[in-house]
């Protein structure tokens, strides 16, 4: 541990020395008498101080939790020497906040007697969060010296985004072969009535529409829409993250992605994830309860990796994008690579829906004419990008972070219904 002298040591030494100096120079012994207690204090401090040998261990009540949950941390510290006053401070973390503002805690440590310092942290953001290594400062008995160091806790928390509940999401234009909750446009075995047609050999008698057959004098059978599952790929833009005040577009995009994944998996759909950015991440579509954990584990590792390398959709493994899958893109529409990749996907015939995570709340222009003009030009460029998508029949809705996701999703659903005739 690093030893530092407190300002008190210098102050006492200066006071004592001044007293002696005045006594010697002015021939005034009372000055020496006044300075002597300070010298005695300094000497006592030097004689009594011991370098502490701290050992610490930490326990947390759980290492997997949701955003906003509390984690209880108990740090057990012991020392081979007496530490009259041990301060433990927690470095400010982006994802954790100490409950009750207790960033600094003080405790007295007796020799070989463990002291437990308990702290409660609230998780403020999803992600893989290493517990901050506390900084410890041990004071000597007289407050002249400080021994400072840090404790390696070596604990990592996995904070999952708290998903929003969605009652309805987007329907895919095409369905897959497995049974699910999505009404297929094809005809087969199902519940939902589709059409009637003349009876053909091999048709099951229970499907005969007796009312129509009696009226026409010829056997007719009912045709049904089967309920099938869909493939949904959540496309997360990891090229850009507009941040301000501890929050950013990526935070909200990941929360929305978790909500969408949970919703579709509950409907027996196959869900995959593509993190399109400097570091490409992907998860092949799959169904089942374990897939949600895989997806969330993939999502919380998401981060923006700065790169100037031009990446297109050809970098994405083909099996991650199954044919006839619905691609839901969550993007702030800032990076040209994402914009082009999404247009490429649309050109390849994928059913694409874009949810624009609005960066405007995090990008407030400075109070100057030039900044306001730049902000306005930026907004016009973004509007032009939106227009490009709409001209290609890609429904795009804007989602202001902090507002419920259900609103933009409903708008997207309506927009897709209107644009259905444009679908390839």
């Amino acid at each position: 541990m690093t030893l530092t002298a407190s300002p008190k040591l210098g102050a006492y030494s200066a006071l004592g020395a001044t007293g002696f100096l005045v006594a010697l120079v002015c021939g005034y012994p009372e000055a020496a008498v006044l300075g002597l207690p300070f010298i005695v204090a300094v000497l006592a401090g030097l004689a009594l101080v011991e370098r502490p040998d701290l050992r610490a261990s930490a326990e947390i009540d759980r290492d997997r939790l949701l955003e906003g949950d509390d984690v209880h941390l108990a740090v057990t510290v012991r020392s081979t020497t007496d530490v009259p006053w041990l301060q433990m401070a927690w470095p400010v973390s982006r994802s954790l906040a100490a409950r009750g503002g207790g960033y600094v805690l003080g405790v007295r440590l007796q020799m070989e007697t463990p002291a437990v310092v308990e702290s409660v942290f609230a998780t403020t953001r999803w992600g893989v969060v290493p517990l901050p290594n506390p900084i410890v400062r041990a004071h000597d008995g007289l407050g002249f010296f400080r021994f400072e160091g840090s404790i390696d806790l070596e604990h990592t928390l996995r904070v999952y985004p708290r998903p929003e509940t969605l009652r309805r999401a987007l329907s895919s234009a095409e369905t897959q072969v497995f049974s699910g909750n999505e009404l297929s446009r094809a005809r087969g075995d199902g519940i939902e009535f589709a059409d009637v047609r003349p009876y053909a050999a091999g048709d099951r008698p229970r499907r005969v529409n007796w009312r129509l057959s009696t009226r026409t004098g010829q056997l007719h059978v009912n045709e049904m829409h089967p309920e099938r599952n869909t493939d949904v790929v959540i496309f997360l833009d990891l090229f850009s993250d507009v941040r301000s005040g501890g929050q950013g577009t990526l935070d909200h995009a990941v929360r929305a992605a978790a909500a969408l994944a949970e919703h579709y998996l509950a409907r027996r759909d196959r869900v995959g994830v593509i993190g399109f950015g400097g570091a490409l991440r992907w998860l092949q579509p799959d169904m089942g309860s374990t897939q949600i954990y895989r997806i969330v584990d993939t999502l919380i590792d998401s981060e923006v990796v700065l790169t100037y390398v031009w990446r297109g959709i050809e970098f994405v493994p083909p099996r991650t994008l199954p044919p006839k899958s619905l691609v839901i893109a969550l993007t702030p529409l800032i990076d040209g690579r994402t914009v082009d990749a999404l247009l490429d996907l649309r050109g390849r015939g994928f059913d694409l829906a874009v949810v624009e995570v609005m960066p405007e709340p995090f990008a407030v222009p400075r109070p100057s004419d030039a900044a306001r003009l730049a902000h306005r030009i930026w907004q016009l460029e973004r509007a032009a990008t939106r227009l490009r998508y709409r001209r290609l029949g890609v429904p795009i809705v804007q989602w202001r972070p902090g507002e419920p996701l259900a609103g933009p999703i409903a708008e997207q659903r309506e927009s897709r219904r209107r644009n259905r005739w444009l679908h390839v």
Partner: protein
Amino acid sequence: MAPRLITAALALLGAAAFGAVSTAAATDATSVAAAAGPSGWMIPGLMSLTALACLTLALRLPNPRPIVLSIALLGAAWLVGIPASGGWRSLTALAGGSLLGVAELAYWSLDFRVAGTNQRTVYIRRAATVAALVGASVALALVPELDLSQIPVSGVELTVAGLLAAAALVAVAATLAWRLRPERDASESAARARPE
């Protein structure tokens, strides 16, 4: 009332009492301040008021730097205020202890501005340490005071003795500080507390 506020209030009260005593003592015609004229008693008074202001500033900011100035001013007020005759000079040892007490209370108030567990034990231990320190200092300061009151206060012998004493003090302090030197193989990892 928070303990740090109590210690701050005690430090301020102690400083105010010390200044009042110095100012009252300066009304004696044999004091150094009296040489400045009939209003000479105001010199330690003004010094004490400035010291009080410095102490208040240090505790309010909080910043330990003005404390040393405050204590120095109080000490100077005492030196210019005490009469040359009477029993005042023998009280200087007590004054030194009081100054140490005021300084300790002020630093204590600044040190304990953080939350903590087991604070009662910490406070009791610190109070006992401060009391022991002040007591020991006063007892030690009384010895030279008694001696110095009996001997001439100037002369080459006394100056030499003082210089030797100062050199001895520095040597003792250096010896004590030597054992706090960092280990030779200290590295970055050594600055970290070891996990169990």
